[in-house]
């Protein structure tokens, strides 16, 4: 039996603040074989040369915070949240 093909998911990414400037875009649709949001950040970080370590970010999916091990689904909207600085 041949190994199964990785599942490709279509996700939407939105970028804010320092990550928006680094990525050079405010949003994108992309296909990914990442299974968790953490893997997706690793993928994006590598591709775009981002230098913000994971320990400094939080991740939101579909409008609310999620854990790094959150499993991606088709159609998810993911936001990587750099250190906040309101007030």
């Amino acid at each position: 039996m041949s190994p199964s093909e990785p599942i490709v998911r279509q996700v939407r990414l939105r970028y804010f603040a320092v990550l928006r400037e680094r990525a050079g875009i405010s949003s994108e649709e992309r296909e990914t074989i990442s299974t968790t949001v953490e893997e997706l950040y690793d993928e994006i970080k590598e591709e775009k040369g981002l230098d913000l370590e994971k320990k400094f970010i939080r991740i939101a999916c579909n409008g609310d915070f999620v854990d790094f091990n959150y499993s991606l689904s088709d159609g998810d909207e993911v936001v990587f949240i750099p250190p906040v600085a309101g007030g």
Binding site: R14, F16, A17, V18, R20, E21, D51, L52, E53, K55, F56, A60, G63, D64, F65, V79, I81, P82, P83, V84, A85, G86, G87
Partner: protein
Amino acid sequence: MSFDLTSGPIAVDIIRQGMMSQDCGGFVAFEGWVRDYNDGKAVLRLEYEAYAELAILEGHRIINEALEQFPVKDIRSVHRVGLLDLKEVAVWVGVTAIHREEAFDACRYVINEIKSRVPIWKKEFFADGTTDWTRCQNCSGDLGNK
């Protein structure tokens, strides 16, 4: 209770007027202003950017937490987004209560949690022509955003 974002000046007097209540003996407000220096550098103006949907969700959560923890009557808060000049009000938190101590405590809780949890970012424009996304107070990593 309310938590809002606005791209225009915060209508402090109108919000305060709307919170006045004859069964409250005290009102405490915190205003965060745009200051003309940070880290020893002269600041000309600020820009706030928000992930609006989640900022509003998290802001409401914080206010609900404060309403559960402290015996206060009402809490309202507004945060600016967009470009701000020096001396403008960047964030406003108002609390009414029967007694003042609870109002002070709730107000301090709300502004502290807003600063550490709500997805809003501040970009400083310095007099020397550089800009910087302000680093998180709770992390020491170099974000490289010179």
